[in-house]
């Protein structure tokens, strides 16, 4: 193992995304984090190994693992299992609220309405994607963030074809039943976004190093809330880079999801 001192300090775009996604879990405490996509999977593990040690992670089957497994390279064959979480218990836990999910958005609009169900009319879609899966239940019951590996105006759309994950405008209409709705953060390969605006429309929080604000605006079909000065997304620390490269993703699968 090389020390942090000898590591190439220049972070790739994928590594910037992973650290930005990990920051979404700050302050989450003792909750289950469920992640879809390579970058979110790295991010949750990175958070658990550094500033959020109380997070719970599963092996994607039915076990809560105390051992943090890498997303590439050899996994530990005898991981420490701290709990049993079959699908039935997953539903209980998520309706109980102690969960933060990161889902991939095939489409997302300015209020955070999300679609990964299908493209085109639902009755006869042009492209059937994942279906509703757990998105309606997730978004109405606990904290949700989104990951977009390839930011474009076909993903950041004016109107999603089908609403699988509930956005802020629809949640507002539900009143008391939406009291647990919390779409926290969107991370794309270009920047970091949230909904901390007066009317809960999407705001560009930071742009990744090497990305211009104008690039993000051009690749987004709806008007983004923009501050007077949009800062750069932080770069991972030397120790975070070491953990990502040597511990969590030694085979570099992150670069396939987000090429530099």
């Amino acid at each position: 193992m090389s020390g942090a001192g000898s590591i190439d300090q220049r972070a790739s775009r994928a590594e910037v995304c992973a650290a930005a996604m990990a920051d979404a879990f700050r302050g989450d405490g003792e909750i289950l984090v469920s992640c879809f996509g390579t970058i979110p999977a790295i991010a949750a593990r990175l958070a658990k190994l550094s500033f959020a040690p109380d997070l719970l992670l599963t092996d994607g089957i039915a076990h809560l693992l105390e051992t943090v497994q890498p997303v590439s390279g050899p996994v530990k064959t005898d991981p420490v299992i701290e709990g049993w979480l079959p699908f039935r218990s997953v539903f209980d836990l998520l309706w109980n609220g102690r969960r933060h999910v990161v889902m991939i958005a095939s489409q997302i609009d300015r209020f955070g309405n999300h679609n990964f169900a299908c493209i085109g009319p639902h009755a006869k879609p042009k492209a059937q994607l994942l279906g509703m899966r757990g998105a309606p239940g997730n978004t109405i019951n606990h904290t949700t963030s989104y990951w977009v590996p390839s930011h474009s105006a076909r993903v950041f759309v004016d109107k999603v074809d089908v609403v699988s994950g509930v956005g802020y405008d629809r949640a507002a209409k539900l009143g008391a039943a939406a009291k647990f709705h919390d779409v926290r953060r969107v991370v794309s390969n270009l920047g970091v976004f949230d909904f901390a605006t007066r009317d809960h429309t999407m705001r560009l929080v930071t742009v990744h190093p090497g990305v211009a604000v104008a690039d993000v605006v051009a690749a987004t079909a709806f008007p983004l809330e923009l501050g007077a000065d949009v800062p750069e997304t932080r770069t991972p620390s030397a120790e975070e880079l070491r953990v990502i490269r040597e511990v969590l993703d030694p085979a570099g699968t992150r670069d396939r999801e987000v090429p530099s």
Binding site: H63, P86, F87, K124, Q128, M132, G137, V162, V163, A177
Partner: protein
């Protein structure tokens, strides 16, 4: 009571237009031998309720599905079930697409003989618009909440697959997850369980702890011993998923000719034994 029967006798009970629940999850511990028996039968116009995997894909490809109640259909290692996708994109069946947690709630309501169970899942999403028959209820307790009333998913027939079972209809799962198989059985009028191996009741605890005895004999009308009966889905610890065969199956969604060849070779055969033999020959040739 001795409930042992055959796959053919189980499928002989099915009628056109029935509502069929299928246990397991994705490409995991699916009652595939019973599904294959349906494919060999003339039964059609089924309403299928499933945490969908290749059970759904095969039934769609064979034109058996009139309506599907589901949250997803996935092969796990292949995230999107290609035969299901083809059928959806052709508008081939009525798609009752729900949140996957709602599906459990509908089965649980039916199991408890309730008309519905309330939940927040679905509120605000297009689950409510693409399923216009779904209704909401107001909480009677003054908290102002309006909740989804998930209707009971009452089934005519449930099919599940277990690792071990006895002749009286007790069933044992030995893998990591019981899924919702007990709810599928409790939601159905007629309940059929295939198993890897029939055992004596007194031997269950040699295979696993009492916690693995999820299916009791009040839930089951018929038991079929079908070794490798979940193939090509996984059935741990007895066997894992046959990934190579699953890839072969998935690839047949690319053209009607490829599907026809697959159907002729593996499905349009006289029995489950003939299917298993055809798979062995394929595996030998693939090596």
């Amino acid at each position: 009571m001795d409930k042992r029967t055959t796959a053919a006798a189980v499928v002989a009970e099915l009628r056109d237009g029935m509502t069929l629940g299928i246990g397991g999850w994705g490409s995991r511990r699916k009652p595939m031998a019973l599904v294959r028996e349906i494919l060999r039968s003339p039964v059609k116009d089924l309403t299928v309720v499933s945490y969908g995997g290749p059970d759904v894909g095969l039934l769609c490809a064979a034109g058996k599905v009139r309506k599907l109640v589901y949250g997803f259909v996935s092969l796990d290692s292949i995230p999107l079930e290609p035969h299901f996708r083809n059928a959806r994109q052709a508008g081939a069946f009525e798609a009752a697409e729900w949140d996957e947690g709602m599906l459990q709630w509908g089965l649980y309501a039916a199991a408890l003989r309730l008309p519905f169970l309330p939940t927040r899942a679905g509120l605000g999403s297009d689950v409510m618009t693409i399923n216009p028959a779904l209704r909401t209820v107001h909480s009677p307790y003054g908290d102002g909440e309006e909740l989804v009333a998930v209707p009971a998913l009452s089934l005519d027939v449930a099919l599940i697959h277990m690792n071990r079972a006895d002749a009286r209809g007790n069933g044992q799962f030995l893998g990591p997850d019981p899924y919702f198989d007990d709810l599928f059985c409790m939601a159905a009028k007629r309940r059929f369980m295939s198993c890897e191996q029939l055992v004596e009741t007194c031997d269950f605890t040699k295979f696993g702890s009492v916690h693995t005895l999820k299916i009791n004999r009040t839930m089951v009308d018929g038991v079929v011993e079908t070794p490798m009966g979940a193939h090509f889905t996984e059935c741990p610890p007895d066997y894992g998923r046959d990934e190579a065969f699953q890839r072969e199956y998935a690839a047949t969604a690319k053209s009607p000719e490829a599907w026809d060849a697959f159907h002729k070779r593996f499905l349009d055969v006289e029995s489950e034994a003939a299917y298993q033999e055809a798979v062995r020959v394929w595996q030998g040739a693939a090596k």
